[in-house]
Amino acid sequence: MNVPQVIEIKKIIEETPTIKTFIFDWTMVGENIPYPGQFIMVWNFNDEKPMSISYIDVAKGELGITVKKVGKFSENLHSLKEGEKLGLRGPYGNGFDTDLRDIRVLAIGGGVGMAPIAFFTEEALKNKAQVDVVCAAQTKSELLFDKRLEARGANVYTCTDDGSCGFKGFATHRVLELIEHKEYDWAVVCGPEVMMRPLYGSLETHMIDGEYSMERYMKCAIGVCGHCCVDNTGWRICAEGPVFSSDQISEIVEFGKYHRTASGLREYF
């Protein structure tokens, strides 16, 4: 399983001007069946990087990843056409708890952080959770998966930095407004750490436990190299993570503060 399987891109969906979803055929058996929050390593024959799983269809045997164009690797993926190939290995990491029947969940995704949130929301809804989604982006055209999740029965609350969708402000603001007026039992969060850090504060203040998905520079993704370990617990994002509970987040002192580059040097957010 820890060898990339080279698979044709079956379908490419342009989600926003900077975000595309890539769909692949995927054998859905045993440990191969991903759950929300897990990621796969994507090899473009030049580099290999982690991507959250944003979509699966077990019956059709399909899996999707959703990529934002931000640098060399993601630009290369965006240049690919249907029928071209990528190497995929995984799924890796733990995942979100989706066994949330009758639980009132607030799912919060910032930017391409909506990728695992969308997959989570669909599974949680199947399990009869009540899911409100906060979908945040810089501008309206960049909102990701808001329509998709609305169609599945989630209440979707959007917000953008420039107010182009109505609500002007960061996810934090949107969430604060919501939790002051509505009761939630559980939160699920994925996005830039500069967004997650204050969100974590607000949710803690309102005593809303939940799970947070983190990103760190990954090399092996199979729990050996130690490059993705976080201070001070030493947990591996690729094995013990990428999803951590609120309690665990409180032990991850670097959360929202710094991460490490390819060499291992700390880089502060």
Binding site: V3, P4, W43, V224, C225, G264
Partner: protein, 302 residues
């Protein structure tokens, strides 16, 4: 009962974390110590920062993995911060260092001498940049010089970690001993090896080839320890493919005074240290041995 010592350093047990596995941060090193390791070896670091190779840097093969991380390192200045945070009360801390020449090795060793219990010299990485790693450890002269320079620079024990990818590992071991090594760590990853994707024809690792590690390399590692034990006088740390207490015993019998565990952490996480120490205790209790040191070299008995 598992208490032992290596180059005069007391160890609560003979199990250590191998270099380069969960060894980049103090936080993961401490986690491993808390999980029961007697000592931890850091990821190899160098004078200047180095990004290492592009991904893919690891790929699975039968019985293990091949990796070409490429000696990524934040540089000694940044690594000092990590070493300062290692909890040396619950276990020993070993710095693995690398460089391009004797001076670089001696410089880095001097910088961290006060922060660790032992220094391990990585002259054996099979996928290092030209002039580093195995290109030193495949040459007895270069190996001797690096060991000598570090020996002169620091007062704590030094281990030379050797590569199996030579015609005669004993020749290199003797050179390291002559250079003044207090002990030897055998072996660094094997090969190197290569895996090619059959759809595209691409070697999977970005560096094309990488060192092989994991259970599959154990027979080679045990033989290296056995051979070098017969031809040298200094203690040996055995490493390569250990996954169970029986593997540890094989290394001790072959002549290792302590062992390191790397790739097998992939299978069950840091808990492997706790499990193996407890299995090892059970074994010794039921055996005729009284201590770890009784077991060292047992396969060489007449």
């Amino acid at each position: 009962m598992l208490k032992t010592q290596l180059c005069g350093i007391k160890l609560k047990n003979p199990l250590m974390l191998a270099a380069g596995v969960l060894g980049s941060h103090a936080s993961s090193l401490n986690w491993i110590l808390k999980s029961g390791a007697g000592a931890v070896v850091s990821k190899s670091f160098s004078k200047e920062p180095n990004d290492g190779y592009r991904n893919p840097t690891t790929v699975a093969v039968e019985g293990g993995i091949i990796n070409a991380i490429g000696l990524s390192s934040p540089g000694v200045e940044a690594f000092i911060d990590e070493l300062e945070s290692v909890n040396r009360i619950i276990g020993k801390s070993i710095a693995s260092i690398y460089g391009a020449n004797p001076e670089e090795f001696a410089y880095v060793a001097g910088k961290v001498e006060d922060l660790v219990d032992i220094i391990e010299l990585n002259v054996s990485c099979p996928h290092a940049m030209e002039g580093y790693g195995a290109s030193i450890g495949q040459n007895p002269e270069l190996t001797r010089n690096v060991v000598k320079a570090v020996k002169e620079a620091v007062d704590i024990p030094i281990l030379a970690k050797l590569t199996p990818n030579v015609t005669d590992i004993l020749e290199i071991a003797v050179a390291a001993e002559e250079g003044g090594a207090d002990g030897l760590t055998l072996i660094n990853s094997l090969g190197p090896g290569m895996k090619i994707d059959i759809v595209t024809g691409n070697p999977i690792l970005a560096n094309k080839f990488g060192g092989m590690s994991g259970p599959a390399i154990k027979p080679i590692a045990v033989r290296c320890v056995y051979d070098v034990y017969e031809g040298t006088e200094i203690p040996i740390v055995g490493v390569g493919g250990i996954r169970n207490y029986t593997d540890v015993i094989e290394f001790l019998y072959a002549g290792a005074s302590a062992v390191q565990i790397g790739t097998s952490i992939m299978y069950e996480g840091p808990e492997i240290f706790g499990r193996i120490t407890s299995d090892l205790e059970d074994f010794i209790e039921e055996s005729e041995f009284n201590s770890i040191s009784d077991m060292v070299g047992f396969a060489h008995k007449e």
